[in-house]
């Protein structure tokens, strides 16, 4: 049962285009959601299927017309896919303002991809105080108005319902993360598939599938212990990377990955005003390189979680040219050193074809952890 479900997740994760076409064929409208956080609940409540657009491992050609080489390849590949019509059929793309590179993506998109409208989601830097929350709500209002132009309808009840669907999905993903920490037989590649597939599925459907997987895993005896590690970064879906983690017998017992668990840590609180509740969720979110917090609680979170989950080491997967993550790395290293947790850093980008350097790096790291 577990393997069958993992196969299903793999197929979905490996063929987003087929998923999107399926929704379009059902007559549903798809709205692309760029990294790192977009108000998916709002988009969902207005009758659209939010569909993750994190780019793809591909050669960058057309995007270079707009992007200098030092923009992260995630953003460049999103633009590349937009310009080469891979996202054709989508009703719009929502791009948040959470890092400087994303800001350039929105502006470039307007000119480079004419048939998919760009909807900006502008977030405040200070999201916790009242004025910050109001700023977030204003950002939502803009998204809402743009979606209305595309035929979406807003109601407080519908949003409250979507908030519930998303909360349930968050919980399923958190539960899954905990269960997977006890099942080393589910490798890094399979784990990545489960998380990645969430971006290409209606959340209610994905929840159902994930809950089935959790049940199946609970009925399955845990496999032989492997080397427990915590993985941190923006995106870790590259097959070349996951193959190495699996070859080296590493078991991801926790992740601090933006495209994975960082998405699911915070729920929308209860409240009569569903839009305000959504803004409260954003204000409550933390422990992420793109969510400003002077105290940098993320650093302690990583060291504490590694300890709590029994990780022997932390692997930082650095997306090349991602400045928010680069800024945090020295702090992560320092905190983990102080907690006696070895750290490895490997640099990846979406144009990478050869992973030999990564293999050498992680092989050496495994030796450090095991010798």
């Amino acid at each position: 049962m577990v393997n069958e479900l993992l196969k299903e997740f793999h197929e979905i994760a490996a063929s987003p285009k087929a998923q999107m076409d399926r929704y379009l064929a059902e007559g549903r409208k798809v709205v692309l959601t760029a990294p790192v956080y977009t108000p998916e609940e709002l988009i969902h409540s207005m009758g659209f299927v939010p569909f993750g657009a994190w780019g793809a491992d591909t050669e960058l050609k057309r995007a270079k017309e707009y992007c200098p080489a030092f923009l992260c390849s995630i953003v460049q590949s999103i633009l590349e896919l937009g310009m080469t019509d891979v996202y054709k059929g989508a009703s719009a793309i929502v791009i948040p303002s959470l890092c400087d590179t994303l800001k350039t993506l929105g502006e470039n998109w307007k000119y480079a991809v004419k048939d998919i409208p760009f909807i900006p989601m502008t977030y405040p830097q200070n999201r916790k105080p009242e004025f910050g929350m109001n700023f977030t709500i204003a950002g939502y209002e803009r998204v809402k108005a743009d979606l209305e132009k595309l035929g979406g309808t807003f109601s407080n009840e519908a949003l409250a319902h979507s908030n519930e669907i998303y909360n349930r999905h968050n919980k399923a993903m958190r539960d899954l993360d905990e269960v997977l920490a006890r099942h080393p037989e589910v490798g890094a590649a399979a784990r990545s598939d489960v998380f990645k597939s969430a971006w290409f599925m209606d959340k209610a459907e994905h929840t159902e599938l994930v809950e089935k997987l959790i049940d199946a895993l609970k009925n399955q005896e845990a496999g032989e212990a492997k080397l427990p590690v915590l993985v941190s970064g923006i995106l870790t879906d590259a097959p070349g990377l996951n193959e190495i983690l699996d070859d080296l017998g590493m078991h991801i017992v926790a992740d601090d990955v933006a495209a994975q668990s960082r998405q699911y840590r915070t729920d929308v609180p209860a409240g009569d005003d569903a839009l305000k509740a959504l803004a409260q969720k954003f204000s409550g979110m933390d422990n992420c390189s793109v969510l400003y917090n002077q105290e940098k609680p993320r650093i302690k979170w990583i060291a504490d979680t590694a300890k709590a989950r029994g990780a022997k080491g932390v692997i930082v997967v650095m997306t090349k040219f991602c400045d928010p993550e680069e800024f945090d790395y020295p702090l992560i290293k320092k905190a983990c050193d102080a907690a006696d947790i070895p750290v490895a850093i490997v640099e990846v980008d979406r144009q990478m074809e050869h992973y030999e350097q990564v293999r050498t790096n992680l092989e050496t790291f495994r030796d450090i952890l095991m010798m």
């Binding site: 070895p342 640099e347 030999e356 350097q357 293999r359 050498t360 790096n361 092989e363 050496t364 030796d367 450090i368 010798m371």
Partner: protein, 258 residues
């Protein structure tokens, strides 16, 4: 018991046979690494030198960039692990290994007990590697083995500010055109490698005893520039280029005896 370590690098192949994990019984080196005849030539050298045959070898471990492609070993181990083991085999108090190879540079630190504790790699860039020195030697038409001799005569090393090998190449050419003396230019080139690798080393954390390994270790001018830059003594052993292969042979021995 004989164990064999093969280190297939990007530009050279090295192999070492250890007897009982205690001393170097035979060694072989050939120009040409990954994807060339280099590994085979180095192995032929070692069989001829030792009088041993493959059947005398209890275990073979392969390391270096070419390790995963080589058929005929009993296992593969990362070159960083092997350089740490090999370095510690030669220098018993070793805490830091600075390995400058043909295409990259790595710094590995060891705990007091000799356990590998940290490492930093520079990848995807030829700056601060053997390749950089080769390119410069080519432009200057100077044998790389003479770099030390030239650098010793330098009064005021030229400054090479470009971090990129390609840009540094044009910088060196314009310095030549401006009449900068060869010793000053060569000392400047060695300083530039030293500065780059020293910053890697500082990131890993430098502790004495420090040694250099890899092909560039033989270049006394770079070693001295590194000593100046880091403010520590850098040990050198004629076996420096074989540390990876020694480490692999030692790893093989440990696997059989533990």
């Amino acid at each position: 018991m004989y164990t064999l370590g093969i280190d297939i690098g990007s530009t050279t192949s090295k192999c070492v046979i250890l007897k009982d994990g205690e001393y170097v019984y035979a060694k072989g080196l050939a120009v040409g690494g990954l994807g060339t005849q280099g590994p085979e030539i180095a192995l032929n050298t070692i069989w001829n030198e030792s009088g041993l045959t493959k059947s005398d070898i209890a275990r073979t471990i392969v390391t270096g960039y070419g390790r995963n492609r080589f058929e005929g070993g009993d296992g593969e181990v990362s070159e960083l692990t092997c350089h740490a083991l090999g370095g510690r085999f030669v220098f018993e108090d070793l805490r830091t290994v600075i390995d400058i190879g043909g295409q990259d540079a790595k710094v590995i630190t060891l705990s007091e007990s000799g356990k590998m504790s940290n490492f930093v790699m520079n990848d995807k860039c030829a700056a601060g590697t053997g390749r950089f020195l080769d390119v410069m030697a080519g432009i200057l038409c100077v044998d790389i083995n003479d770099f030390e001799k030239y650098a010793e005569k330098s009064k005021s090393p030229a400054s090479i500010s470009s971090t990129c090998t390609v840009f540094a190449e044009s910088e060196v050419i314009s310095q030549l055109a401006n009449g900068v003396e060869m010793p000053d230019l060569i000392a400047g080139i060695c300083d530039s490698v030293a500065t780059r690798v020293a910053s890697l080393a500082r990131r890993a954390g430098v502790r004495e005893t420090v040694c250099m390994s890899g092909g560039v270790a033989r270049n006394g001018a770079v070693r001295k520039a590194m000593e100046k830059e880091l403010g520590v003594r850098i040990e050198f052993d004629p076996l420096a280029q074989y540390f990876g292969a020694i480490g692999a042979a030692l790893y093989a021995h440990r696997q059989l005896t533990r």
